[in-house]
Symmetry: C2
Subunit: 338 residues, 2 copies
């Protein structure tokens, strides 16, 4: 590399200077060492982002060291929202001679493990993070070494990391306008957390506001589980202003809402309409047949695979946020208020 | 190795002679080559089994080549029966410094891929096959190279491969006797396939016979999916002898049974009792609250991990079938016939 190039292009040395740490500490971060303290690691990652530092991933991807394997980090195997996304991912990766191996973020989280570490140790060619993961910094470290794509969620936003997801604002608007269109006024949202939870909640509130229903909008927080949806619905239905419709942040929480209605003697959809989000296999159980937002997961998966393949050939390409358009699946759990 | 030892202990040469193939073909099988025709591969695996051939896995596990990673092959990510089993596996593997990576057999099956190949290429230390996989021969090939354990199913039975599962005969008897004890006579079984399906069906039939109800036992085949359970139940409820209770081969098929009853205007459990198998998260949805057989999956997972760890230290130890005792979870879908 010529002197001119090294001036124009960030190196480990310039990253170390910017972060106020040693070159060897930057190397440790690049190798994903667990011996680096979080605040140091974050300083290094911030410096890399600010300088636009990229390791020479192109050289790596052209070498014979490739394992032809892509690691997929799932956030929680118990919620089957990711199944179609994996199908979409797999279809394109397989066409390009790549195998997919998976890890369950929930299991790793419980044991306090860096999620990306086993995959990096096995020298996977790339990583796809599916859903919201607990440790964004670890993803940044991985992204400094191999191509990384975030799919099915909106965070973390990291330099050189494409984000592929459904348009949560659009989806939440579809769900809310469906309920408003049926004639509901007192509508509750069972909210979630993280970037996805925030986007869906804000869109619900904005849509209610746009229809002059800001005062009729109720928001009840949840942990995005079935139990959380159940408890939020019990609170809503026991409160002073009982809603006639509930839009939940995901299908699992909606199932909890259905159970709560059932136990309180309310019939769905006659006494309470319920809309979910994700169009999971659970929502498609004939016994539930839940109205929900389809997140175009297969499409999200295919586009995430496309982003990864593109980054193999051009590691320096700018990263972006790619949104698929969700649609509403109207099933049995919504109707006009009685 | 002395001449005496080589006589007593099978080698690649003696395996090749027994199988009537070349030594290089045996090597190809050991390397998991896809260029070996299935009948040749089976002949080699049979010869290995007959001779008790074991590659020197002990030497391998003690070398520095260990990745400290265990590959877990899941049969189908869409059916969440394996979640507790993974928890059990992970708890013990993690205590021993091992990471778990996963692959979805359904995705690989669709593309005609040898399931074990990516894991072998990544040089995992061991493999755990969870649930019934489509290609037992591939598992045999893997087992000739690294420790392999089969968990949550009863097949394949291979030399040097422990099988850890729940006692399907006992579980099916519990379910059937529960229905008989409630007063049901005309009881139907929605059957599955494979070793597990056969064991559950035969135990249902034997239990009915033991209670003098052989003539009241109905068996309807299914593909073990929700849709399959739905169609089997529609056939049963439209037939000449309508059963008052259904015991399905798994929870997913039971959910189909619940939907079929619902659509035909029958109330569960008043008009029809339904029992599932697996105690999945789906059966625990408050909205379903399905009576089912708990397969002690966490225990199965822990024991499978134990078997793998034991085989790391003693690759030549005899393999066995280890059965955990299932229990009945009585919930909302079973009652006395009205």
């Amino acid at each position: 590399m010529s002197e001119a190039q090294s001036e124009g292009r960030p190196t480990i040395r310039t990253v170390a200077e910017r972060a106020g740490v040693s070159k060897s500490l930057v190397s440790l971060v690049l190798r994903g060492s667990e011996q680096v303290r979080p605040e140091k690691r974050e300083a290094v990652l911030r410096a890399m982002a600010e300088l636009g530092y990229r390791p020479n991933a192109a050289a790596r991807s052209l070498s014979e060291q490739r394992t032809r394997t892509v690691g997929v980090l799932l956030n929680d195997l118990r919620n089957p929202w990711f199944v179609d996304l994996l199908d979409g991912l797999n279809s394109l990766l397989h066409d390009n001679g790549l195998h997919m191996i998976l890890a369950d973020g929930r299991l790793n989280r419980r044991i306090g493990q860096d999620l990306t570490r086993p995959f990096l140790d096995l020298q996977v060619d790339g990583l796809i993070a599916v859903g919201t993961l607990p440790d964004p910094a670890a993803l940044g470290t991985a992204a400094a070494r191999i191509p990384v794509v975030v799919a099915g969620t909106r965070e973390p936003v990291l330099p050189g990391v494409d984000v592929v997801a459904n348009d949560d604002e659009h989806g939440a608007r579809l769900a809310t306008e469906h309920l408003i269109g049926l004639g509901h006024r007192a509508i509750a949202h069972i909210a979630g957390y993280g970037a996805v939870g925030d986007l869906r909640r804000r869109s619900f509130e904005a849509t209610m506001h746009a229809h002059g229903l800001a005062d009729d909008a109720l928001v009840e927080p949840s942990d995005m589980t079935e139990e959380g949806g159940y408890r939020a619905t019990v609170r809503l239905l026991s409160g002073p202003r009982r809603p006639t419709a509930v839009f939940a942040v995901n299908d699992i929480a909606s199932v909890g809402a259905l159970s709560a209605a059932d136990e309180l003697g309310l019939r769905v959809p006659r006494d309470l309409s319920v809309v979910g989000y994700d169009n999971t296999s659970i929502s498609r159980l004939r016994h539930l047949w839940l109205t929900t937002v389809d997140t175009a997961s297969h499409d999200v998966g295919r586009r995430a695979a496309r982003c990864l393949l593109d980054r193999f050939t051009d590691p320096g390409r700018p990263a972006g946020v790619h949104l698929s358009t969700p649609t509403l699946e109207i099933r049995r759990t919504t109707a006009a208020p009685s």
